[in-house]
């Protein structure tokens, strides 16, 4: 097909149009709005498929398409363009975003059926799609930043969608504020890029890393990592993701599991040339990834709220991706591969969780579920397949992608390789544990259903078809995507022209790593079965060990932030105010007071008596004359 690049803008334009129509259109669209939103998301997906087919028709090195729409800010040496770049990496994201996005639009039609603000919800979802597509299609960092802020805004609006709940409003604000810290990193990185390279287009910036000092590249890498930490909920900016689950479940599935939170991985992979030339920054990236994958997994083990358990899991899985992206050319392809498979199974798991909540009067506490497999068979099967995929059951998606990441981590070499590989293996064991726990507490065991606020026991039922169809499609993805991608390394070959690829040389053979991964997975499942399958689950959570209690509180992340940042900030401002009051104001007020006192004394001379003035004059004259005479005598 000729001129395929002209279609790129349509990818962004369709959902953007949807957002504009739905948000401006007002109440008259209340009855049709959700279908308009879904249709425009689907249009975007169809265009993506057409472009994908077109891309496959060309040889590997000739697959990148460019579309220059217009000059945005042309000022002297400062040239900002609205221009798109569609290469294999962007294509992967576009297919994931529009595909999963369309499915979740469809799901939301059923899920939000009884919400009177459904039209607005779809407007926000479309806005999110447009911003996310802009983020991955931009051909320069400045336009990427526009998308980056756009998804942040959409995320804020959607987390706080039920703004009448104070917890949702607070969670939205928290997500926005924590994200700002990361965004600051990205904006400074873009400024640094402009001063260093004179431009922020991907081509010139990433092509010029050879002639740039390593110090600058390390600084750039660390700033980009900060940005990635904010958006992808990595330690130390992870605290917002758990609270973000206050948003409607489709939002958690689309934004806080499948797409937006993976933007950090995209940023690092896209800026691969910078990280490849800055080993210190890479070390920081793998450290963040390894710490987060364990952090999220531990939090996931202790949460009783099904969505928060899944949020911990998301954090942990993105930790895997960040870890892989930090490994350099041996890991980029696997990071993106895990990202796509994770997009399928985690979105499926969240939609399953939403379906369960739908049937259980919006109860989120897993301790009040139990025995649901008979009542919600489709949800049970799709959730189960997602579960098998995420724990890395051999043959399913998660197995292929996670196994490759663990292998690449060992291939980092030296002590680092052993530590990272060990952390990744440990993470795999904990993943198996907490996901089995979620599975057992929700679908197995005896019924622990509790009456809701109105005193009614829930009547779990299968969800409507608009909700189950997306879950089924995603379950197919969870099962087959990994195998498809690994077939003759097709995914790695597909991405190789963009991210470059090297085979890692692991001290352990691939078979050993695979065996170890499966072994720790079985161990995790067995432990969870002993804990939650063999014994009845208490409805009120037991007190638990010190670690459990800490993990229930997100490993004290909020307490840490409160003590170090909030209290620290308060103390800092208080001491600054004290210095201002005592020192700065002291000097100013002291000067004023001393002059005031002096003048108070001086003004006593002005007593109004003409004769006193006359005496002064005589005295003064006498002194002057005496002085003159004296001087003359000398």
């Amino acid at each position: 097909m000729d001129n395929a690049e002209n279609l790129i803008a349509l990818l962004v334009a369709a959902p953007l149009l949807g957002a504009a129509v739905l948000l401006v259109g007002g109440r008259r669209l209340d009855r049709t709005g959700h279908w308009i939103g879904t249709a425009l998301a689907a249009v975007s997906f169809v265009v993506a498929v057409v472009l994908f087919a077109d891309m496959l028709g060309r040889p590997g090195d000739d697959r990148t398409l460019y579309q220059h729409l217009f000059s945005w800010i042309p000022v002297g040496g400062f040239q900002a363009d609205i221009a798109f770049q569609l290469d294999q990496l962007s294509m992967t994201f576009v297919l994931l975003i529009t595909g999963v996005g369309s499915l979740i639009h469809l799901y939301s039609v059923g899920y939000m059926e009884h919400d009177e603000r459904r039209r607005r919800f779809f407007g926000y979802l479309n806005l999110f799609l447009a911003a996310m597509l802009l983020l991955v299609l931009a051909d320069n960092y400045l336009l990427l930043y526009v998308g980056w802020e756009g998804v942040g805004l959409a995320s804020y609006l959607l987390i706080g969608f039920w703004q009448h709940k104070p917890s949702a409003a607070t969670a939205a604000k928290k997500a926005f504020l924590v994200n700002r810290v990361g965004d600051m990193g990205l904006s400074i990185a873009i400024m640094l890029m402009f001063t260093t390279f004179g431009t922020f287009a991907f081509g010139p910036v990433l092509g010029a890393t050879g002639e740039t000092s390593e110090g600058t590249l390390t600084a750039l890498g660390l700033l980009l990592l900060l940005a990635a930490c904010g958006k992808s909920a990595q330690v130390p900016l992870q605290s917002w993701l758990g609270d973000a689950m206050e948003g409607p479940t489709p939002v958690s599935a689309l934004i806080h599991a499948a797409t937006m939170v993976t933007a950090g991985v995209y940023l690092i992979t896209r800026s691969g040339a910078i990280f490849n030339a800055a080993p210190d920054a890479q070390l920081a990236v793998v450290t963040v990834g390894a710490v987060t994958l364990l952090f999220g997994a531990i939090v996931g083990c202790a949460k009783d709220d099904i969505k928060k358990a899944l949020a911990g899991s998301t954090m942990s899985q993105i930790g895997y991706m960040i870890l892989a992206a930090g490994l350099g050319p041996i890991g980029y392809a696997f990071a993106i591969m895990h990202l796509v498979t994770h997009g399928f199974f985690k979105a499926g798991l969240f939609l399953g969780a939403g379906s369960v909540m739908h049937g259980m009067n919006d109860e989120v506490d897993m301790r009040k579920y139990g025995g649901l497999r008979k009542y919600m068979p489709i949800t049970f099967v799709t959730f189960g397949l997602g579960y098998l995929a995420i724990i890395g059951f051999p043959g399913l998606s998660g197995f292929f992608s996670k196994d490759k990441i663990i292998e690449a981590a060992f291939a980092k070499g030296g002590t680092e390789g052993w530590i990272l590989g060990g952390a990744a293996l440990l993470g795999a064991a904990i993943t198996a544990f907490y996901m089995t726990r979620v599975m057992l507490m929700t679908f197995f065991g005896e019924k622990r259903w509790q009456p809701d606020d109105k005193g009614e026991l829930p009547h779990p039922h299968e969800s409507p078809r608009t909700m189950t169809i997306p879950m089924i499609v995603l379950a197919f993805g969870s099962v087959f995507a990994g195998g498809l991608f690994s077939w003759h390394e097709s995914f790695v070959k597909w991405l190789e022209p963009v991210t470059s690829f090297e085979h890692g040389h692991s001290p352990l053979s691939a078979a050993t790593v695979t065996t170890a991964t499966v072994a720790v997975m079985v161990l995790g499942v067995a432990l969870a079965y002993l804990q939650y399958g063999r014994r009845p689950v208490p409805v009120t959570p037991p007190r638990g060990s010190l670690l459990t209690r800490a993990a229930r509180r997100d490993l004290l992340q909020d307490d840490f932030n409160h003590v170090v940042l909030v209290r620290g900030g308060e103390h800092l401002t208080r001491s600054l105010v004290y210095v201002d009051h005592s020192l700065v104001d002291g000097v100013v007020n002291g000067t004023a007071a001393s002059f005031g006192g002096l003048s108070g004394r001086l003004r006593k001379l002005q007593n109004g008596y003409a004769r006193t003035y006359a005496v002064t004059m005589f005295g003064g004259t006498a002194v002057l004359i005496a002085a003159t005479l004296l001087m003359r005598a000398v």
Partner: protein, 99 residues
């Protein structure tokens, strides 16, 4: 010609005038004492003029008299209006110009 005696007289008149300005409260008397001081100066000027044999000092004395006459016109008008409003010609009573 020896001006010493004239200067003694001028100094004496000036001192009397100055003491009067400082000591007396009645505005009219204070005013007369000021005139006395002015005329003491005039006397000194005329005496020096005579000593040097030119007219400069005498001309300055004329100027002084003209200025003194103008001052008397303004000063007496002020004193009269002061007396009308306060029924007193004491300079100490008019001590409102202060903080």
């Amino acid at each position: 010609m020896n001006p010493v005696n004239y200067l003694y007289l001028a100094a004496l008149l000036f001192t009397i005038g100055a003491a009067g300005v400082l000591i007396r409260r009645n505005a009219i008397v204070v005013f007369m004492c000021i005139e006395l001081m002015l005329n003491a100066c005039n006397l000194a000027l005329v005496a020096f003029s005579r000593m040097h044999g030119n007219l400069d000092g005498q001309i300055i004395a004329f100027f002084t008299m003209v200025v003194a006459a103008a001052e008397v016109v303004v000063g007496l008008a002020i004193i009269v209006s002061l007396f009308r409003s306060r029924h007193s010609a004491s300079v100490d009573d008019a001590s409102l110009m202060k903080l």
